[in-house]
């Protein structure tokens, strides 16, 4: 069953075409990698999917309970509510808030009480706040962050900030999770731990995951399928083995072979 169907989306900034007629399709439950050299348009593609940019042309469809939702042109918060969550390449936590508050904010769509209840702190406010906090702590336990719930996000070590970003994205209860370089700046041990966590949450939350990554050990290890982007175009897709031996991919990464030396 298809969960995300991207058809020929294009985005240009002035004369630069960052994403050119890129198409990709994700099946439910898949773990797919998106790789490509620097400046290939991977993050731009994520920004198009999550509504930070609007595509110049092309369509993005998300399928939820076999109902099709057109994502192009929707505001980011609507796209998040439709079930698509993300993390950021350069960590974008709410730095001066606590770990718990970071996750609580992402639970916003579960909040049922209105403005009046929040002004007067009526009983329904207290009841729901407690439920939300309990849910957040359950989520933080997966990342071993529950003891640090009252720390400010900016005071966490780098690796834990990355974990918190994933926890925060999960709090929005997504069906599709986009991870933008989750292992950037991590050492091999941390990357191995992250690999386990990604596998774990995928099982537990029944997720489809699309991840951008430069760490090939992570990509080749956990991704079932890989899309390769270069100059904004999808130049190859397939299983890790197919990608490893694909001539165009090698060219994109290492450059063309020069024959007449």
């Amino acid at each position: 069953m298809t969960i995300l169907d991207v058809k020929k989306i294009t985005k240009s900034f002035g004369g630069l075409t960052a994403v050119a007629k890129a198409s990709l399709k994700l099946e439910k439950g898949e773990l797919v990698g998106l790789i490509g050299p620097n400046g290939a348009g991977k993050t731009t593609l994520f920004n198009l999917l999550t509504g930070i940019y609007t595509p110049d042309s092309g369509t993005i469809s998300l399928f939820k309970d076999s109902e099709e939702i057109a994502l192009q042109g929707l505001r980011p918060n609507k796209i998040c509510r439709a079930g698509l969550a993300r993390t950021f390449q350069n960590i974008r936590l709410f730095k001066d808030l606590t770990v718990l508050e970071n996750v609580l904010i992402a639970m916003h769509k579960n909040v049922e009480y209105g403005f009046l209840q929040s002004f007067l702190h009526l009983p329904s406010y207290g009841r729901q706040e407690k439920e939300l906090v309990d849910e957040c702590i359950e989520l933080l336990k997966i990342f071993n962050l529950e003891d640090k719930k009252d720390e400010l996000a900016k005071n966490l070590p780098y690796g834990e900030q990355r974990h918190l970003e994933i926890a925060r994205a999960l709090a929005t209860n997504p069906s599709l999770l986009l991870l933008d370089e989750p292992a950037a700046g991590m050492n091999p041990a941390e990357t191995a731990e992250l690999t386990q966590i990604i596998k774990g949450i995928r099982e537990k939350f029944d997720l489809t995951i699309l991840l951008i990554e430069h760490d090939m050990s992570l990509v080749m290890n956990i991704c079932e399928r890989i899309y390769v982007l270069d100059y904004g175009m999808v130049i190859a897709s397939g299983t890790p083995e197919e990608i490893r031996s694909n001539k165009r991919v090698i060219e994109a990464y290492l450059g063309e072979e020069v024959n007449d030396a």
């Binding site: 918060n77 993300r86 936590l93 209840q117 002004f119 939300l132 994205a169």
Partner: protein
Amino acid sequence: MKKLVTLGLTYAIIQILIMTNIISDYLQATLVTVCINIILAVSLNLITGFTGQFSLGHAGFMSIGAYVCAFITLRTPTIYGFLIGVFSGAIAAALIGFLVGLPTLRLRGDYLAIATLGMSEIIRIIFLNLEITNGAAGLNGIPQFVNWTWMFVFVVATVLGISNFIKSAHGRACISIREDEIAADAMGINTIKYKVTAFVIGAFCAGIAGALYASYFYFIKPDLFGFLKSVDILVIVVLGGLGSISGSILAAILLALISTYLQSFPEIRMVLYAAALIAIMIFRPQGLMGSKELSLEVLGKLGNSLKSKRGRV
């Protein structure tokens, strides 16, 4: 429970001081100014300190509340007229806040500041040129209904309302916009809705403050609500700490104290006042309270640590 007791005691002590005339009429006017400034500063703090939207138009909203309340109480000089006046003033200010906020809140930082500044100037000029507002001469003889009791009720209601709001999910949504608007949006927060909401609540409270002002000082004119008034409120907010409600309250009280004390040196009063502001900003650049809150528990802890220190010595 402790909160209720403190609030009750504060009210009772000042009420007794007023009744026994220890707080003279002059001091009482200062007290009312402090209360009005508290409402203004706390509501601007919601917009600027918590939601992170730099607004320079707070005096504009205040003037709407003041004029609407003045009209209504001039025509129906009863206590009901006064209450209806206060709420209509607040609602009118909130409505204008909504209409102005919807287009301008797409702007960021300095641009928003200039847009809101322009808005408050437009409001002032409209009041200056209308027939019914009596132009530059202003409205006179507004019946006085505000006393310490009413003042106290309105200050407590607005401050508690706003601090409760901040501690709710809706308040957290506002704070997340200040922290990182793109991330907030990506986490499902409707950032436009919450920016406008904060703006409307802030305008509503500023309207209340304006109405109370009109009703206590029985005279208003457009000049009172100019650019400088907006800056005065912003100074209180920044001095108290962006994102601290108790900071705003403390700063409003402190500035009134400094200003009252300096009355004895009329020639160099404003120089000293400015020097005091500069000194506070040099030694506490984050404001008196930073983004922390002063609460009874914190005071209790402070007291305990002082006691234990003394015990050791």
